[in-house]
Symmetry: D2
């Protein structure tokens, strides 16, 4: 039970203030220099707190000035790197490697690490990066700075440090209100709506958390347990559906995945989340045999329009054929699938399992894909192989049925263009 005590303490610590931060009137440039200086490791907590407190009070303009300072004054010094590298080449060893490593890493990385010495700072640093991404867009030096944040966050938010937690109607309201706020795919419009996603016996929700930000979900997935693969999101969410006991379900449908932290952009959790949840669910409910998504096809309608193909008058089958073609054949110049959701799931090693017409008849669903949705299948025994073929040869895995749809689409498109 030890870990319970941990978290208790964590909570305590997060509220803890290491004495009052004495007011320090020096410019922030002096504080940053202090913090990465020789004594920063011992006395740095007070300076770090001072900087974080100031940052919270700053305007966007102030923050931008701060970022520019980090980007320029705390960048690597090419001369120093070159010298240290030469010394290391000449006499490789502990001392020369230490000198090289110190020179090759910009001081702003150490600054970010030392800011993180303050209990509770991690979440603030994540929000700091969100500001940087927002304010620094298009400014090359700031985007380079962002790579340092991202590099550190990738290390700190390593899969091995994340904790998977079920989200339920028993979860703290303070966390649930964030689920409402962050749901990106199918909006949750009230607490009653939320309860309907969490409480019924055929619903599940899971999120990744980081121990240093225990109140902040990083990413969450909503799951519906069904008999057979779901082919309509409206049917899935219908209030008057029959709710079956979880142990009668054979399929887990991942119908919504939402990232929560803008400041963690580019650090991918979705792949791990889906596989972990699939593995956990299959252990808890041995009756579950199939793990699929019910996913949107956000670029399909535009793609059709670009090709001057009108969905009006198409049969459902024709729509599904074109959808299959779009997902599996339409590519970006770099060879990746055109559809962003397809890029994500195929990159994870899923396969295109089925195309469903009339699957999302909301205005959004009709607008972006004429109501078409797709199931991606996660077959845990085959995801590695699928992923490798996709990564190496951009080979898209698909079911026999989807292969048939794709072939039919080929013929039809050939006719059209002939």
């Amino acid at each position: 039970m030890s870990i319970l005590a941990d978290l208790l303490n964590t909570v305590f610590e997060r509220r803890y203030r290491f004495g009052l931060a004495r007011q320090d009137d020096r410019p922030f440039e002096d504080l940053t220099a202090d913090l990465i200086g020789a004594t920063g490791e011992v006395t740095g907590q007070a300076v770090a707190r001072q900087l974080l407190d100031r940052y919270e009070g700053w305007s966007d303009a102030d923050r931008l000035a701060f970022f520019r300072h980090l980007a320029t004054a705390m960048d690597v010094q090419p001369e120093a790197v070159r010298a240290a590298l030469a010394a290391y080449e000449e006499a490789p060893g502990k001392a020369s490697y230490r000198a090289f490593a110190a020179a090759a890493e910009p001081p702003r990385q150490e600054l970010i690490r030392r800011l993180n010495m303050v209990p509770g700072a991690t979440h603030l640093l994540v929000r700091m990066r969100a500001d940087l991404l927002r304010l620094g867009r298009g400014e090359e030096a700031l985007m380079a700075l962002d790579l340092d944040f991202r590099h550190l966050f990738a290390s700190w938010f390593n899969r091995g440090f994340l904790v998977l937690r079920p989200i339920s109607w028993e979860s703290p309201a303070a966390i649930l209100e964030k689920i409402i706020a962050y749901e990106a795919v199918h909006a949750i419009d009230s607490w009653d709506d939320l309860r309907r996603r969490l409480q019924p016996a055929d619903r599940r929700c899971f999120a990744f958390f980081h121990p240093a930000m225990p109140d902040e979900p990083l990413i969450f997935v909503e799951v519906a347990l069904t008999q057979g693969v779901a082919s309509s999101v409206q049917a899935l969410l219908a209030e008057d559906r029959t709710v079956r006991p979880a142990d009668q379900a054979d399929t887990a449908n991942f119908y919504s995945i939402s990232n929560c932290q803008a400041g963690l952009a580019g650090i991918s959790f979705g792949n791990s989340l889906i596989k972990q949840v699939a593995a956990d669910l299959s252990q808890a409910l041995p009756g579950l045999k199939t793990f699929v998504t019910l996913s949107p096809m956000p670029g399909f309608a535009r793609w059709l329009a670009d090709r001057e193909l009108s969905a009006d008058g198409m049969t459902e089958t024709q729509l599904r054929q074109l959808g299959a073609h779009y997902l599996t054949r339409a590519k970006r110049p770099d060879g990746q699938p055109l559809d962003p959701v397809a890029r994500f799931h195929l990159g994870n090693g899923a396969l295109v399992h089925a195309l469903n017409a009339g699957a999302d008849i909301s205005p959004k669903g009709l607008g972006q894909s004429h109501g078409l949705m797709v199931n991606y299948l996660y077959d845990l025994a085959r995801v590695s192989q699928n992923h490798e073929r996709f990564a190496a040869a951009q080979e898209v895995a698909m079911s026999g049925e989807v292969r048939g749809l794709t072939s039919a689409a080929e013929s039809a498109l050939k006719e059209t263009t002939e």
Copy 2:
């Protein structure tokens, strides 16, 4: 009830095995190449587990071979660094910085991060570094590799991620047996002895933990609450002492600090631990006004002997005078105090508060310092200032009493040498 379920999951995860690691007969060099390769981020967990499982089964010779592979085949490539650096200098920007950062970091760092994708891997990596320190001693390339471990660990075991937990007689036996095993200063010889250190109203114990290693203390400190500063460790630990309620104490004596993880050598927790515990205790027990250690002087007897000074026949006062001189004036060539414990506490910003004769009359205490012990005082209002003066000018802070002892010692030594 959500938090409970959460934590269950945490525990579960640590034991969780993501499917069975299929046997993979390729040499480990192929696996490491795979893991840092393009697809490693998605499919890497299985490869990482494979490598970790193999590592656990290896002999020291196998492990050494593995470390040498990391040290040589996965080191930085000077040519590549140089080229990337030149490109960045020429056209600084996001892309060129990304390329430089990738080149300047040896691939073995990414390897270690990806090994950590496996839930529960962190502790194994810490033990891996302990092996490296043990097996690689004196081998420059391996000590350079160690710097990469240390660099990553300093980031992962950042103060902001650590959790302070009280250790008490209510703690899990699985953790308490580690306290017994790791106590380095005044050995705990049985469970009864342990109970006497934890259960009485005038005793406290605290440890730092990392959330990814919740069963493993990183460092712990034992505290005795007293009226007045303790001047004898035997009196402090006497079973027949009068135990006073904690709220009657005015002094917290830190009488033992022990590091627990050989694999975290060089990553200093002691400074934070003492200050955090002092801050927490002063909040919980407002009557506490003084925070001191009761510390050994491990090099004192040898220093006396080196100077051909005999303790035989010295008065207690003479011994204390020489002790004060030893702590505050005896220096290494680099200007640091000769005494290692003094280096630690003075570096943290403590001051030399009092010298106590007859303070440790155990064979060890008599042998290393003729029974002399020292109290270092942590005055939270002054530690920053003390630390800065010490760091900048090697100025040793001390109490008036100790200053007097030191002056007297000066005179006496002058006479002796004249």
Copy 3:
């Protein structure tokens, strides 16, 4: 931390089904006989579950029949009591006392205890009593049966078994929705409204729970922390008020107390709750010096009307004078205060501290008391003495100010009636 494991297990147990309850077609009268019979203690869990499951499926008429069976067939047997009593008088001792005790307690008490052998049954039994109170109203035999439920519940819900828990925005949604549902004094109309009662730094909420019903609050109190005693509920709840840090408050205002369980009617928790919360708050926030309620006067308007006194045209002072008179002098035939809220707080040992005009200008507040509200003061050093004088001599404790108002009212009323 052991207790955490407890609750974990408790949760588990509550969902646990001890095998499937085999269908048993015998009439319920046979099952009740079985359950209190010789073998009931060992095999009773299955029978108890059978009965509880049936009860849940029953209509009101069925339940009434069940209650009547308990009331009549499982009542005490006067002849048996008389005989056992005589035997005990003649030869007092263990055996004769055991026989008397067995005879003097109606078998339905043992039945209720054995029904409670099923994990999770306690809440169902509480709801069973709520049914009994609703269906049995006015039926003497059922009201006698109710005394047995109440007797057992008073023993089971003894203060020593209750757990005080803070309710906050961190509490599980499943509990918070019950707070919304049960709030009886100032309705909570949405989750946003609830958040405003829980989350600000100057708000607190506490509830009593029973370990066997961990998801069900028994009673809760809402507290507002202020500088000075609150004199208007609208000001207290105003969204645009200035929220001060809790440690700046000198007064805790208990502005709403709600019982949650109809089935625990007559088992008083409010007295303990207020005193415990006051004691806890004064320890956590030493700045708090005053603990008062801001309470309605539900019978005031009617009392005025009965005396043919019109509030129209009264000054605020006249209204407050009459309010003071009403609270302290208007009595029921049994000598108890006429006002039910006054009975509760004066019975607890509180004193009438202040009368506030315009304190509740909601339609309900205007309707029941012309906007007048009262502060009852809980002075922990004097509650025992106040209570005893009130209990012994119906002496109402009041502040000097209220005494003045009362005297003025006497004079005015005398004039009016002269």
Copy 4:
């Protein structure tokens, strides 16, 4: 985080003192009268604490005086009972029933309930009863008083209120030291010995707790998971045995059950414990098919001796035959089995499964049963039926093998006596 805070509060409460108990110099007789008096429900907590504090300081003689006061001055008043009973008979109804119930229950029961209003009092009351059982032995009036304690405890320690918790090497040391102290069957002689009972993969331990005494196990059972039924306790506990993963076991052997609280004598938990643990284990480890005890036969050697049968020279088969006869045929005058352990398990609905010679070769095992031990089988599908036949007709359930041994014993004994 709410649950954690909650529980903190729980812990806090148990240690909480509701102000300082003012010294009250009146004789305890006055305090007891006060406590059950009219105002006791509101102001009683202070009086109750006063009484409990005094009790803790009393000598055995003082305690005896206290018990005698309860036994005599707070007994039922026959005249009052008789009058109330007559009134109830004449005019049954709520009021008359209330009066009867009040008269028929001795005031000391209410006194005990009100003592329990103090948080943390429950454990003290349990220890008070242990004193009563020790000091009052043979004194009829005190044994009658004990029936009141027992009646209340049976209600408070109802199965529905108990919590089953696993005991493991992760449990708090404060609880584990109680397991060492209370183990009654096969003594645990050190912490190492305890670790060997808890930590290996093939060991389990479970205890019942009451939420008001969360640090005090009420009863615990030690379990060994094996392939096949265990037939020797020394083999079971052998340190050099092969430890198999739990999921390879098909049998759970309950090899030790210990009651922990002398003050809960006569309130049986063992029956529920075994069945609950069997049910939980079979859910967690579906491979478990057989749930047996490995039990001593404490009266066997004496029984043989009484019959002037010498074990010397008997074959193992003869010993097992006689053992089977002893367990299934040797009866007390009231028809119950002579062997106390057999009474317990057969009363729970277990059956006699196998007799094992050489099963306990410790001095104790050889002394009490010539090394013979017995497996009782808990077949959850048949325990109710077994129990009922045993309760109704004292029919002992046994396996075919044991039936064979018994028959052989009959013949042999007949020969012997012929």
